[in-house]
């Protein structure tokens, strides 16, 4: 996404906060593909993702006025709304139960070396730091973010006691932080 496109999205959010319907449609046209992709990825179900996307944009309409002060970049703000809403729906559906198979269905594909070579990108930077963690711990971080797994679910999937999982993950987050701030 170009700098100009991101700037335009930010302007649109400001206009939407003032109730500008045309700006809302422009914002939708510019961003709904990405947000639908994220929603589909989290929910893994097309009909549910379509419902979620509708709810997400209604939320965006209602909360655009709070965007200016939060200090996030516009795409981060929008994607975070989508991700959080999708995970809420997923957790409501899951109701605390899940099969281990789903982990593998939903896990990211393995990262090829060519992807890691793009060290200018944020993605490569985070992937690089995740790559320094033990593989199962990096996958737990991904599972929490993209699949909404709780500590209890992660512990079950990795066949470790809950406290062990919590300690693992907290230490991994500390390592991740150290790695990211040293770049």
């Amino acid at each position: 996404m170009t700098k100009e496109a991101i700037q335009r999205i930010e302007e649109n959010i400001g206009q939407v906060a003032l109730g500008d319907r045309a700006a809302f449609v422009e914002l939708y046209n510019a961003t709904s593909g990405k947000l639908f992709g994220v929603t589909l990825r989290v929910l893994g179900n097309r009909a549910e993702a379509e419902d979620a996307l509708q709810e997400i944009y209604i939320k965006i309409w209602g909360t655009a006025g709070r965007y200016q002060v939060n200090g996030l970049s516009p795409m981060t703000w929008l994607i975070t709304i989508a991700r959080n809403h999708a995970i809420d729906k997923l957790r409501a559906r899951r109701g605390g139960h899940d099969t281990i198979d789903e982990v593998f269905d939903l896990a990211d594909p393995a990262r090829g070396p060519e992807q890691l070579a793009i060290d200018q990108s944020e993605n490569a930077r985070l992937e690089g730091c995740l790559g320094q963690l033990e593989q199962d711990r990096a996958s737990a971080v991904r599972g929490a973010y993209l699949s909404g797994y709780t500590y209890a679910e992660l512990a079950t999937q990795h066949s470790v006691p809950l406290n062990t999982m919590r300690t693992w993950l907290r230490r991994s987050l500390q390592k991740l932080k150290a790695c990211l701030s040293h770049d």
Partner: protein
């Protein structure tokens, strides 16, 4: 045992949705006043959102935008069923979604003389419509209703849905048709950008604190 629950870790757990439910409210209260912690939460949010970079955009079907316009702008008739779907979707009381409310609700509400808010809600079959004007300075919500009265032994109840929060009752609609509802101080800032909804409830209103019957009307309240 070493203390692995540092502020950085707490912020990361909050963003990931791993924070114990019991700790979330306390953490969010802290976020309101602790700018450094807000910065840490934002930094983790920007960090983890990168995990969505490899996700390719997928064009949603045109029906999604049409549905959104129907709900927000009354552009086209939306079925009662879909309104209910949107309504129940909006009120999923998830802890993850609470993140955004806490971080983004620090903005001072607008307080200019010309800051009235309006809402026009109509049911798909035009049997019920509501026109609402809210004056944030006085907290008075003027309500005018047209259409059918509530059924025998039933009542219309008005709800406010602010951001990701669960619906809060604003009381029963005034009878017979027009009247005023005084919005409590604490709820006034939440009206901006909120969604109003009317549900069909037993006489005297819902006893559960949440809508129990069909959602008859729903739509945003906003400045024009």
């Amino acid at each position: 045992m070493t203390d692995d629950n540092t502020p950085d870790v707490q912020a990361a757990e909050y963003v990931l949705g791993l924070m114990p439910v019991a700790d979330i409210a306390g953490f969010e209260t802290r976020l309101v006043t602790d700018a450094q912690m807000r910065g840490t939460v934002n930094a983790w949010t920007e960090t983890f959102v990168v995990l969505t970079d490899p996700i390719e955009p997928v064009a949603p079907p045109a029906a999604v935008l049409a549905g959104i316009k129907a709900v927000l702008f009354n552009d086209a008739p939306a079925s009662r069923f879909s309104l209910w779907g949107v309504f129940s979707g909006l009120v999923v009381g998830g802890s993850v979604a609470a993140v955004l409310v806490a971080v983004f609700s620090t903005q001072v509400p607008i307080n200019s003389p010309d800051n009235d808010l309006f809402a026009q809600l109509a049911s798909d079959d035009s049997t019920l419509a509501l026109s609402v004007v809210f004056d944030p300075d006085t907290g008075i919500l003027a309500v005018a209703r047209s259409g059918d009265a509530a059924a025998e032994g039933r009542a219309f109840e008005l709800w406010l849905i602010a951001g990701d929060s669960a619906p809060v009752s604003l009381g029963l609609l005034p009878e017979p048709r027009d009247g005023r509802i005084v919005i409590p101080d604490a709820l006034r800032p939440l009206m901006v950008g909120g969604v109003l909804a009317v549900s069909d409830e037993p006489e005297g209103g819902s006893t559960t604190g949440a809508p129990t019957g069909a959602v008859l009307l729903a739509g945003p309240i906003a400045a024009i």
